[in-house]
């Protein structure tokens, strides 16, 4: 579910996030896991950096010819017996989905994980139309029970701990034995599997997103580890794909090049478990698969990004690496960003999608350390794009006075120890000297908001970049 954006209150959100002990514990999982896994798997493939160039070039080529590739894509979907529904806005996309569901008399709709579904707030629309929408990705299922938005684009429930999930399951799965043991994560998984299995088999319509669309063949691709997307699209009578226009690539080979950097950048796997290429509905001799295949193709402001300085953002393949490596995301989590897309990619995308008046604070949520750009598989210059927004925002005089004077920005990050270490070596040494005796600051000028709550750890005498390098060295040794 997606409520009104709270992006304009980014600073308040961030402050609450820093005070949330459960969240801080859960965020430790992001810091620990994603970074090392990606580095290890990238190091195992000598062509990895070359493939990133290749992925960037394929996306650039496609964007420059997007009109032609979309026409070709639609032609081939139609040839395979599917149907493309073009949607200028979120409203049109929701309506297209609801019309299909109404025509087939759908009662239950299962859903594979889709960020476009979040972007257009599809679940709310389905429920408002009197149908039941069931998220089937484990993380999405958990946050749907909690009526929350995802806090990460590939790990939607990463902000939660197992004990929180256990109490949600107890609250919602009331038909099960209250004395059952759910103390182990496998028990939680098994319970969700059992409950969702019934939903898969009962659903009338299955909705998935798409990681890519292929012009050559009219194919849509989903990438999952759970297999939920496949059950979602294979079992019901109708499969609806919702995808945005920039998802198209020319050929199967082009998709394969990009797939090689997607899983590696996202989860640090060589390849995700299930990569599924779907072309049209069930064929005459098939014994399973959907009878109808629809694609809702959403623009929602993307066509206007072409030809602007934000065009490069349309290369994004939603891998999540930028947030996994972002010190701001590590500190505040995804919900603080206040809308569907968090982290560096969200900071660039959100203002284009919901307006600079609402999303304009997000591009400030950066230390400009450059880590996001250095891991982005399609080499999007995220810090540069954030700077463009800040310049635009400045010109529009939307910035709070403190930001315009450069003070608010500094003060915000000065209060965050993890970010603070990104300051220059000179400042580091100064602060290290100040806090030398105890290793903590009892107070810090301009940073009372932080030191009121706790002591500020003294910097450790090396910058983030230096520590990062040392860590990398330690790992490759």
């Amino acid at each position: 579910m997606t409520a009104q954006p709270t992006s304009p209150q980014f600073k308040d959100n961030a402050r609450h996030a820093l005070d949330d002990a459960q969240l801080q514990k859960a965020l430790g999982n992001v810091r620990q896991n994603f970074i090392d896994r990606r580095a290890a798997v990238a190091a195992k493939l000598p062509e990895f950096e070359g493939l990133r160039d290749s992925a960037r070039d394929i996306k650039n080529h496609t964007l420059k010819n997007l009109d032609l590739y979309l026409e070709r894509y639609e032609e081939n979907v139609t040839k395979a017996g599917g149907q493309v529904h073009w949607a200028r806005t979120a409203e049109e996309a929701r309506q297209a989905v609801l019309d299909i569901c109404a025509r087939v008399g759908a009662k239950t709709v299962t859903k594979g994980k889709s960020m476009i579904s979040e972007e257009i707030a599809l679940n709310d629309a389905i429920e408002a139309a009197g149908m039941k929408a069931v998220e089937t990705d484990l993380g999405e299922y958990i946050i749907q029970l909690r009526h929350e938005a995802p806090s990460h684009i590939i790990a939607p429930a990463v902000h939660l701990n197992a004990s929180q999930i256990e109490s949600d399951f107890r609250k919602h799965h009331t038909h099960l034995d209250p004395a059952r043991d759910l103390s182990q994560p496998t028990q939680l998984l098994t319970e969700a599997r059992m409950i969702l299995r019934e939903k898969f088999l009962a659903a009338d319509v299955g909705i998935t997103g798409a990681n890519f669309l292929i012009a050559e063949t009219g194919t849509s691709i989903i990438v999952t580890n759970e297999g939920n997307g496949d059950l979602t699209q294979t079992l019901p009578k109708v499969h609806i794909v919702i995808a945005s226009i920039e998802k198209v690539v020319p050929t199967l080979e082009d998709a394969s090049q990009i797939l090689r950097v997607l899983a590696r950048s996202a989860t640090g796997q060589e390849m995700s478990v299930y990569t599924t290429f779907s072309t049209g509905p069930r064929r005459p001799t098939d014994v399973d698969g959907p009878e109808e295949y629809h694609v809702v193709l959403l623009d929602n402001g993307r066509s206007a990004m072409l030809g602007t300085e934000f065009e490069e953002m349309l290369r994004c393949i939603r891998c999540g690496a930028c947030m996994n490596h972002c010190p701001v995301y590590h500190a505040v989590g995804g919900h603080a960003y206040g809308w569907v897309y968090p982290g560096p990619m969200g900071a660039v995308l959100t203002p284009t999608l919901i307006g600079v008046d609402k999303g304009g604070h997000l591009p400030n949520a950066s230390t400009f350390c450059g880590r996001c750009e250095s891991v982005c598989p399609v080499r999007i210059p995220l810090p540069k794009l954030m700077r463009h927004w800040r310049e635009r925002e400045f010109e529009r005089h939307l910035s709070p006075a403190t930001v315009r004077w450069g003070i608010g920005f500094w003060a915000f990050f000065a209060k965050r120890p993890a970010l603070y270490r990104l300051a220059t070596g000179v400042a580091m040494r100064g602060l290290a000297w100040l806090g030398k005796s105890t290793g903590r600051f009892k107070s810090l000028p301009l940073a009372a908001g932080w030191t009121d709550h706790r002591d500020f750890p003294a910097p450790q005498g090396a910058t983030f970049q230096q520590q990062w390098k040392a860590r990398r060295k330690g790992r490759s040794a």
Partner: protein, 223 residues
Amino acid sequence: MTARADILSNIRRSLGVTGRERPRVSAVEDRIETAPRGLVVERGRLPHDERVALFKEQAEAALATVVEVETRADVPAAVAAYLRDNNLPARIRRGDDPRLDAMPWGDTALEIAAGKSDGKDLAGVNHAFAGVAETGTLVMTSGHENPTTLNFLPDYAIAVVDAKDVTGDYEDMWAKLRFAHGKGEMPRTVNWITGPSRSADIEQKMLLGAHGPRSLHIVLVKG
């Protein structure tokens, strides 16, 4: 204006094009026609035996189990042994792939159900279209021969793959698929499967058997 016309004209306005420029149109046609391979990944470019060994190694790294048999005639016994070893009932479901049909299932005590899965089968057997060595990935194509549901609903998914169908990389596999189905033609689904189903959505701990099979067993036919 329709949404379609509107979106296309917005794209064209942003790009400063009309959609009729000869060089653009032919660049797009060329790319789709020639489908260039892009950057070649060396890992899978190996002679047959090493390639098949890499496939096995990578599939196991993705937590699949692999057993090698000499000929197709050995497959039913290998399937029966796998079920026995896992304390499973001697029962499978499979489609009517002619390669599976030709195997001596009658020599085993296996009970065999035909067709798609209704979600109650413990074990299903499908024949793979190909394997890809670079990541240990199985390539399954949909159809009555090998119903897609058998890849996802049973707790134990068993896949038979011929060693001669193991390609080094995805690109060689696509070439093989185009040869089998025709350029631009695709089966309804092509499933790349790399290991059994899993989720890391609870505290980033990897757990097997999320919605799809808890185990993936590959019977690799050498001859």
